[in-house]
């Protein structure tokens, strides 16, 4: 096994995490924002897998399993919220959701 793979995988996960975060800041479509968050979760998953490999323990993979479940659940609720909101606002622009502020 290449000793550099684990740290590089972690670095990649980091990069993906940051890219995902940037997506949250920069994209205005709420679904894209949501997808960016999914990207972040995937980045975390990669880190878990890498660390799991590093420690030779499977707990990390179990966690990935749960994260996927959570992602699915979040996707369901999140998209339902998006649907409901779209009914009111007829837009998916996150900047349009600024009734509450101050």
């Amino acid at each position: 096994m290449n000793p550099a793979l684990v740290p590089h995988a972690v670095l990649l996960s980091l990069a993906l995490f940051v890219i995902g975060a940037l997506g949250v800041f920069l994209r205005r479509n709420v679904i894209t924002v949501f997808m960016s968050i999914e990207l972040m979760l995937n980045a975390v998953n990669l880190a878990f897998v890498a660390f799991s490999r590093s420690w030779d323990r499977l707990d990390g993979q179990v966690l990935v399993f749960f994260v996927m479940t959570v992602a699915a659940a979040e996707a369901a609720v999140g998209l339902a919220i998006v649907l409901a909101l779209h009914r009111h606002k007829d837009t998916l622009d996150v900047d349009a959701f600024s009734l509450l502020k101050g």
């Binding site: 975060a21 800041f25 205005r28 900047d95 959701f97 600024s98 101050g102």
Partner: protein, 660 residues
């Protein structure tokens, strides 16, 4: 030798007027103002009759209490005199203290000795006469019950003042008489000037009282006691270096003298006394001439052993007294209000007494106090009789030629005038002579000279008063002339009694060797210098010159005063403005104190600065609160960025900045 009764009698002397006051004050309302009632019931009916009887009864009670007090006082004094001279000290005391904290104790204790004997006789004696006089003078005032209750209260406090065995207890009487003075000056409270004068009197007196309080405190701190007798012991026990020119004893004396100045109307605290003439005339006679205003003299004399220890204090007393005497006499020259003349005369005479104190002749001060009480009360009551006759008019320019219309008044007034002018053998001659002698004997030629000049001025302005009022022709309206009438007996009897007193007291005092008796308790300079025989002659001459000059100017050729004042307009202005004291006080009170407090302290500092700071702080916080709302843009992406930024900062902190 002991006289156990003397341990109780002084309290009874005090008690009677207090009871009188209490009865009149508590039940006064029920028997007040029958005139209103009369209007309601048309002067008929039982209620009205009862009320009328009630007011009469109230006056009776007041007079009885006053006279009873005098009788008890006389009895006490008689018993005291029966004792050998060195046993004439009684300190009757109640079983409980007034104040008692950590070594500072003020017992409810009195002091009866020759000095207080003289004082209680004067106070209760003249007080009784004035009570009687008031029955006539105030007999138709709707609020006479209130008047008599105040009068009784005054008597109580004045007696307490002179009987009090310690400074604080004396101070109770001291402020008490001030209070009564305030109440009585403002008795006709509907009159703006009357209530203003009352207030002025109290406030100016308070200045002195503050000095007196500080004096008491310093006395206790420095001398270890506030008991009148122990004070002297404390002073004598002090180390010699404590008697420097400005040692504690001096300061005690000076602070106490500030109090005396307030009460006895000495420069610069004299301004209240002339205004105090707003009160009913009997009040002026009793409080503002015979008794209360002499309290300062009493205080200084009472503490004469202390004052005698401080050259500085004596000098200050003498100078202030003399200056006051001269200044007041000059002002009296131009007054047109009959009572104002008498008021300034009182100020002047009080200055005379302080002059006596200041040269160390304390018993002489008391002597003059004694004689002055008679003739000045007489003059005031006489003027009251005149005013009564003139239906309230006080301006001498509206009078004249009253000699024949009110003869009793005239004759008694004449006696008083001669007495105060110092014509032998009347009372004033003896005491004034003694004062001048004291000044001369103390080798104070300047004081002596000024005193002599003042004597001349006194004779002049008093004669002016006499001539303007009783001589010449009537200058008022015809109607007023028609109304002029002699006063009732209740007013005339006191006049006569006082006139008699004015005649005999000087002579009697000498005969009874009262001075020697007093010197047992008062400090006195040993071995006066020569007793020059020319001195009485000179004094009498001054008086005669004054009288003659007045006669010339006001009876012989009445145009002279106009010419003189035209020639000396500046001086005239100065005198009419009373040397500017009132103006200065008014300016200070209205502009500096009130004006400054309002604009600078209250509006600018309190509301502006302090409250502004507090409210500003509130606004500051509030503004920040509004500012934080800006952070909450409502934009989701912003929130996420905030979280991310927070995370970055947090991690940076943990990595780089955290403490090692």
């Amino acid at each position: 030798m002991e006289d156990p009764l003397l341990n109780q009698l002084p309290f009874l002397v005090l008690l009677l007027p207090l009871v009188g006051f209490a009865v009149l004050a508590l039940f006064g309302d029920a028997i007040r103002d029958e005139e209103t009632e009369a209007r309601k019931s048309g002067g008929q009916g039982l209620a009205f009759r009862l009320r009328a009887e009630g007011t009469r009864g109230a006056m009776l009670i007041a007079c009885v209490m006053a006279i009873g007090s005098f009788a008890l006082a006389a009895w006490s004094v008689a018993r005291l005199l029966a004792l050998p001279a060195d046993a004439r000290f009684y300190q009757p005391s109640l079983t409980f203290d007034w104040i008692s904290v950590a070594g500072f104790t003020v017992p409810m204790g009195l002091l009866l000795d020759p000095l207080s004997s003289v004082m209680i006789l004067v106070v209760s004696g003249i007080g009784s006469l004035i009570h009687v006089y008031s029955v006539g003078y105030m007999g138709h005032d709707p609020e006479r019950v209130r008047y008599f209750s105040y009068l009784n209260l005054f008597l109580f406090f004045m007696l307490l003042l002179v009987l009090g065995g310690s400074l604080p207890l004396m101070f109770v009487g001291w402020e008490g008489v001030g209070l009564c003075s305030y109440l009585l000056i403002g008795f006709w409270f509907k009159k703006e000037s009357a209530s203003a004068a009352g207030m002025k009197a109290f406030v100016v007196n308070r200045v002195g009282d503050a000095g007196l309080i500080l004096g008491m405190i310093l006395a206790f701190s420095a001398l270890g006691s506030v008991d009148l007798l122990e004070l002297r012991l404390g002073a004598e026990g002090l180390a010699p270096e404590a008697f420097g020119a400005f040692g504690p004893v001096t300061w005690v004396c000076l602070l106490l003298f500030v109090g005396a100045c307030g009460k006895s109307a000495q420069i610069p605290l004299h301004v209240w006394l002339p205004d105090a003439m707003e009160g009913p005339t009997p009040v002026s006679a009793l409080i503002h001439a015979a008794t209360m205003v002499t309290a300062g003299v009493y205080l200084v004399s009472r503490l004469s052993p202390l004052f005698a220890l401080s050259e500085t204090a004596l000098a200050v007393v003498a100078v202030v007294g003399t200056a006051t005497a001269l200044m007041a006499a000059t002002i009296a020259l131009v007054q047109t209000d009959i009572k104002k003349v008498l008021a300034y005369s009182t100020v002047s005479q009080l200055g005379y007494m302080f002059l006596a104190c200041g040269v160390g002749a304390f018993w002489v001060a008391i002597f003059h106090l004694f004689t002055h009480a008679f003739f000045k009360a007489l003059l005031f009551l006489g003027s009251g009789s005149v005013i009564h006759a003139m239906s309230g008019e006080q301006d001498m320019r509206q009078m004249g030629g009253l000699r024949s219309k009110i003869p009793w008044t005239y004759w008694t007034f004449l006696v008083g005038t001669l007495a105060i002018a110092g014509i032998p053998p009347l009372a004033g001659f003896y005491s004034k002579d003694a004062i001048l002698l004291g000044a001369w004997g103390a080798h104070k030629p300047v004081l002596f000279g000024v005193g002599l000049a003042t004597a001349l001025l006194t004779a002049f302005y008093m004669s002016r008063l006499l001539f303007l009022t009783f001589f010449g022709r009537f200058r008022g309206s015809h109607e007023a002339e028609h109304h002029v009438h002699e006063s009732p007996a209740s007013m005339l009897v006191p006049l006569v009694v006082l006139a008699l007193g004015s005649v005999v007291t000087g002579w009697g005092w000498e005969r009874l060797h009262m001075g020697e008796a007093l010197n047992l308790v008062l400090a006195h300079a040993e071995g006066h210098g020569a007793h020059p025989s020319w001195l009485p002659v000179l004094a009498t001459l001054a008086a005669v010159v004054g009288i003659v000059a007045a006669w010339y100017a006001y009876v012989m050729s009445p145009e002279i005063p106009g010419r003189v004042s035209a020639a000396a307009r500046g001086l005239q202005r100065v005198l009419e403005e009373k040397w500017g004291f009132d103006l200065a006080f008014d300016w200070f009170a209205a502009r500096v104190v009130v004006g400054g407090s309002e604009s600078a302290l209250w509006k600018r500092f309190d509301a502006g600065l302090i409250d502004g700071t507090v409210n500003g702080l509130g606004r500051f916080v509030d503004a920040w609160g509004r500012a934080t709302r800006g952070l909450q843009t409502g934009l989701l992406r912003g929130y996420a960025l905030l979280i991310f930024g927070g995370a970055v900062l947090l991690l940076s902190y943990l990595l780089w900045i955290r403490p090692a």
